[in-house]
Amino acid sequence: MKLSKVGAAAAIAVALALTATACGGSDSTKPGSDASASGGAKKDKIVIGIKFDQPGVGLKTPDGKFTGFDVDVATYVAKELGYEPDQIEFKQAVSAERENLISNGDVKLVVASYSINDKRKEKVDFAGPYFLAHQDLLVRADDTSITKAEDLNKKKLCSVTGSTSAQNVKTKLAPEADLQQLGGYSECLTGLENKAVDALTTDNSILAGYAAQDKNKGKFKLVGLSLSNENYGIGLKKGDKELQTKVNAAIKKMEADGAWAKAIEKNFGPSGYKAEPAPAVTEGS
């Protein structure tokens, strides 16, 4: 008696799951067929990896939209490749997974504050760079005690676990600094606001994004140090020369027609952060 009840419940669950997937299936095919009918050439989506948690750079807002400089670059490049904004699917690319997302073919491009370096080039190819960032410090707006990297040796510093910026501090910049490594930059901001830490360090683009957020306006400022050079590139599958050339051309075009400067102003303007001029495209030439 009891067993048959369980069986019935399971059957209902399975049936529900099947109907649900069936609904999803019919929904997703509909706009696809529409697009192919109106657009002529049958083109499916392009999947691009971005950061979901970096205001100003790449952020997924609570209502499901995407904002940030990387998003603008990705949208522009996709357009040059022949994809309209509604054909782009953004996928989260956390730092440690970027190489695998590309080499497994889960994403076509990665535009996620992705610094070009030799170790990464062993697994993926880059296009660009499209942006030059520097490692910098974020401090409380009224703090004037930090003016150079050596000042950090007596200070409490915060960064994200395992990040390149954190390692830079430990090995090069200020080995004696009291470094706290937390899961995310927002967690560091809590400490910075409550004076438990004195400075937050990572790329200035990311810091500017946090400083420009509405809830943080006027609380923090960038010190303006250039502690490292981070050339952001667009990651793509190793050996795909054709795509690399196309993406490089798109970046050059974006810089030439003023869309690049507009995107900088839109995303970083409110923080008073002066971005470097667009770097020359060096990859793949």
Partner: protein
Amino acid sequence: MFDFLDSGQYDVLGAFWVTVQLTLYSAVGSLIWGTVLVGMRVSPVPLMRGFATAYVNLVRNTPLTVLIIGCSQGLSLTLGVTLGGGTFKEIGFRLAVLGFIAYTGTFVCEAIRSGINTVPVGQAEASRALGMSFVQTLTLIVLPQAFRAVVAPLANVLIALTKNTTVAAAIGVAEAALLMKEMVENEPQDLFAVFGVFALGFVLLTLPTGLLLGWVAKRVAVKR
């Protein structure tokens, strides 16, 4: 493939040593705290029973990550609790141990309570007939028998604790999981080798624990 181990850039043994230290301090602490909790849970005082029951059910059902980050964000970064530590390294370690004790203590408590249930009621009745107080009954008669019955479950709790220490990476304690994050960031080309090294490290820590305590469990079990 394993070049990164020879580069001298990563102190894998040092990181695992921090893992071991975290585990040992937390294990001793949670054994004590769990025993205190179980004493409260079976005590004749309703207030103590109520507190311990509420605490165990609340903390046991809270995700460990929430507890550990709560220790760091709430206690340290917002309220300024340092537990006597000067640098973030000390503060983070101590806060992590505090969080692990709070969490693992509940599992120790429940394991020992199941052990208490294996002790025949007659044992407690007999000790009371001899004029022993509750504390004497618990510490001299019931708990020693209960502990002998729960060595194997406690070993499971210890193994879980060993692996749980990786959560401390979230608040910047430089143990194995944090070093792994660093290596994954730096050595993307050897992703699986990095994972392999750390998986092996944890197997080397937990497997002997399980085998040793399994043997102990058989030796000390009360034959009924």
